[in-house]
């Protein structure tokens, strides 16, 4: 074990930065975490840890959250952070900045108050389990930042790196904050995020132009073979599934027997192989994670493909595949091809419509299709996965536009449950309901690979794409020379 060395600039190509204003983004700006910090932070294993707060107390009814702020945290302009600053940020997110993605989390917020300079109290209307988790993305900026009332262009945060240079779609440079509240950090002089749109990052990584990069799955093998490189993964997984059209199912595809038949036809192993870096599974939660259930996994009737069952079920439902049109709407990728090929193998009269990202999502809203294969990225909290299956959830079309009052109820119950174990049970119950009604068929989970050069030390990717957290990330990283 080497002693950490100081200095140097880390060049990293991971994550994006859509706007300099941390409150304004809609959910895809992880780079900002290096200059803006929140009360909490998500650890590599997905657990919530206090960051700008020292500790948090939750009332037994799950309605009041009391944060005790860390002392001696200074903004980049040198001023010490107080609870008033936190309140100002919450109010900005709740009242001023419309459309930012945290507005959802703020919905159930009844009051926020600062009883003393180092305490902040949130009062909720009803229990909301992911609250501390979501606060990890409520970034605290100095309210004196220019553009506070409108749009911020040079944010003043508390992070290990100051906001130095930002060119949209090109790069972001953060310079070390020598007054950072975690003594001895950051170790680097600067981080330079390469946020260009580039086809394949692994080449730049191999050429030594970049230290850390999100790489395509195809490149994992080559990168592994290079002695100067290693491959690591985000803590959380993407879940891959095939959704049926649940809003207005067509033809025989409303029939449970037909859905079961199709589920039996999928070779999960082969499907996930075309995705890469996978584990097969049947749940939204990744195998081994807290919300995952082993018994449920073992009971999966679709673990192995069973074409005989498929045929029998189809025959039982009176479906003659050759005379049944089946429309697949998808992105353009290998697992979509696999899906279409599987359905063709059953003899269905397959029409496969492959579109670009937004084209596909828009097309799905027409609900004139039968099947769509999708993968969905890491989420800081399990609720953020479940919410998408709810009637009022975001992007409902990806999951076939489920409108299931029972499911809504199950999920709502889970998210308002204060006790961890009870909540876990309720989530599992909700998931069992999804599986029973064959709305969505999970095939497995994949992890996104990140290539890291050997001279980069103490770099561990986050649970999600965030590059900085209280117990790891770029603040800890150093370059060996």
């Amino acid at each position: 074990q080497q002693e950490p060395q100081r200095g140097g600039t880390l060049r990293i190509a991971q994550g994006s930065l859509r706007t300099a204003d941390p409150h304004r983004h809609t959910g895809d700006s992880p780079v900002q975490q290096v200059y803006a910090e929140a009360l909490t932070s998500i650890s590599h294993d997905g657990s919530v840890k206090p960051m700008l707060a020292e500790r948090v107390e939750v009332s037994p009814d799950g309605l009041a959250y009391t944060f005790h702020l860390r002392r001696g945290v200074r903004f980049h302009n040198g001023r010490e952070m107080t609870s008033a600053d936190v309140v100002a940020n919450v109010e900005r997110v709740r009242d001023r900045v419309q459309g930012g993605w945290l507005t959802t989390a703020m919905r159930g917020l009844r009051a926020v108050e600062a009883p003393d300079p180092h305490t902040v109290r949130f009062v909720l209307a009803e229990p909301f389990a992911p609250f501390t988790n979501l606060l990890s993305e409520l970034w605290i900026l100095a309210p004196e930042t220019e553009g506070w009332a409108t749009t911020i262009n040079r944010p003043i945060g508390t992070g290990p790196f100051r906001f130095a240079e930002y060119r949209p779609n090109i790069r972001f440079v953060g310079e070390a904050n020598r007054d950072y509240w975690q003594a001895g950090l950051p170790r680097l002089d600067a981080v330079e995020f390469d946020i260009r749109q580039v086809a394949d990052r692994s080449l730049a990584l191999r050429a030594g132009d970049i230290h850390v990069a999100r790489i395509p799955d195809d490149a994992v093998e080559t990168v592994r073979r290079d002695p100067n490189l290693r491959v690591t993964f985000y803590g959380d997984t993407e879940w891959c599934a095939v959704s049926f059209n649940n809003r207005s199912p067509r033809g025989p595809f409303a029939d449970l027997r037909v859905r079961r038949a199709i589920a039996h036809a999928f070779d999960k192993e082969a499907f996930m192989q075309t995705v890469g870096n996978y584990v097969v599974g049947n749940q939204m939660a990744a195998p081994g994670s807290y919300h995952w259930d082993e018994a449920m996994e073992r009971a999966d009737p679709y673990r192995q493909p069973d074409l005989a069952r498929t045929r029998a079920l189809l025959a039982e439902a009176g479906v003659v595949p050759a005379r049944t049109p089946l429309r697949i709407v998808s992105w353009q990728n290998d697992y979509s091809l696999f899906t279409a090929q599987t359905m063709r193998g059953l003899g269905f009269n397959v029409e496969h419509i492959a579109l670009d990202d937004i084209g596909m999502q828009t097309r799905l809203t027409r609900y004139d299709w039968d099947l769509t294969p999708v993968c969905s990225g890491p989420r800081a909290d399990i609720y953020l996965r479940f919410v998408r299956l709810m009637s009022e959830g975001p992007r409902p079309q990806m999951w076939g536009g489920i409108q299931d009052a029972r499911l809504d109820q199950l999920i709502s119950q889970a998210v308002t449950t204060v006790d961890d174990a009870a909540r876990r049970r309720r989530y599992l119950e909700a998931w069992q309901h999804v599986m029973d009604s064959h709305q969505v068929l999970v095939l497995g989970h994949r992890r996104s690979p990140i290539g890291v050069r050997a001279e980069v030390r103490d770099f561990q990717p986050g649970f999600t794409v965030s590059p900085h957290r209280v117990d790891g990330g770029v603040a800890y990283t150093w370059l060996a020379r």
Partner: protein, 290 residues
């Protein structure tokens, strides 16, 4: 005065094949042979492929073996079968797009020239517009709107190349309209449309065909570019362009994926170019005039 065509009766005596052979010359014959072979493969396509071009038939990225002559791709599909099947689609898309470009650029172009006035102005404006809009943009927009597939790709490529034909047609039109025999026909009382259709157009066939022979392989490659940007033909259609675009992802680990379609395209391009050169040499009115 012993013009090139005076030799034809003797050649005709040797039958159509012999005549064509003599007409084309050595390189032209090679070009014709390659073209005919490509067309034959395209027509027989599915019958020739040893494996299902869409279904996996072995280990992913497997290099060439005795069973799979060109190896397997990233989904374990037989590359040779995909190449053969792709020949059909690629050549069909290539021909269709070239025809569309031809019809739009040359056909409508000549007609617009013949009618003249604001119609010609409108047409030229439309061609300028197409010339200025990057074809990739058009393809991106089309694909986002109606999805990938041979239809949108053909349409986008046809539109993209139409101005090339329009230019050749217009330059030829202007040249032909100044020719003595067009003036002579005018003196005989021929209408403008007749001048264009009977006198100018046939003389433009040569240059336009040459252009088409140049454009056709370019259309096929362009489809590769579109595929690379995710707006090529349907993902199920193993067009050469898609094969190249897909193969490029594995250029290091499995170079055979990209080499196979590129070489196939190169051979066909060469064939078309040889055929085009030979044909143009023969159709060039200046050369006929000795």
């Amino acid at each position: 005065m012993a013009g090139a065509l005076s030799a034809t009766p003797a050649d005709r005596a040797r039958g159509l094949g012999g005549w064509l052979a003599a007409w084309l010359g050595g390189w032209g014959q090679l070009g014709l042979a390659i073209t005919v072979l490509a067309v034959a493969v395209a027509l027989l396509g599915p019958a020739l492929s040893p494996f299902d071009p869409l279904a996996p038939s072995g280990r992913r990225l497997q290099p060439p073996t005795a069973e799979h002559w060109l190896g397997l791709d990233a989904l374990g599909r037989d590359v040779l079968s995909r190449l053969i099947t792709g020949t059909q689609i690629s050549i069909a898309v290539g021909i269709a797009a070239t025809l569309l470009a031809f019809a739009l650029g040359a056909g409508i172009g000549l007609l617009a020239c013949a009618i003249g006035g604001p119609v010609a102005g409108l047409f030229l404006g439309a061609m300028d517009l197409l010339r200025t809009l990057p074809s990739i943009l058009l393809a991106l927009v089309l694909v986002a709107a109606i999805g990938t597939g041979t239809g949108p790709v053909t349409f986008a490529l046809g539109l993209a190349f139409a101005p090339v034909f329009a230019r050749v047609a217009r330059a030829g039109y202007l040249r032909e309209m100044g020719a003595g025999y067009v003036t002579a026909a005018r003196g005989l009382g021929a209408s403008r449309v007749r001048l264009v259709l009977v006198h100018a157009a046939p003389n433009l066939v040569g240059p336009l065909l040459t252009q088409a022979a140049i454009i056709l392989p370019r259309v096929i490659t362009k489809e590769a570019v579109l595929s690379f940007f995710g707006v090529g033909a349907a993902p199920e259609a193993p067009t050469w362009g898609r094969l190249i675009a897909e193969g490029t992802r594995f250029v290091e680990r499995a170079p055979h994926l990209v080499l196979a379609p590129v070489l196939a395209l190169a051979v066909v391009t060469l064939g078309l170019s040889l055929l085009g050169d030979a044909t143009r040499r023969r159709l060039d009115p200046n050369r006929v005039a000795g």
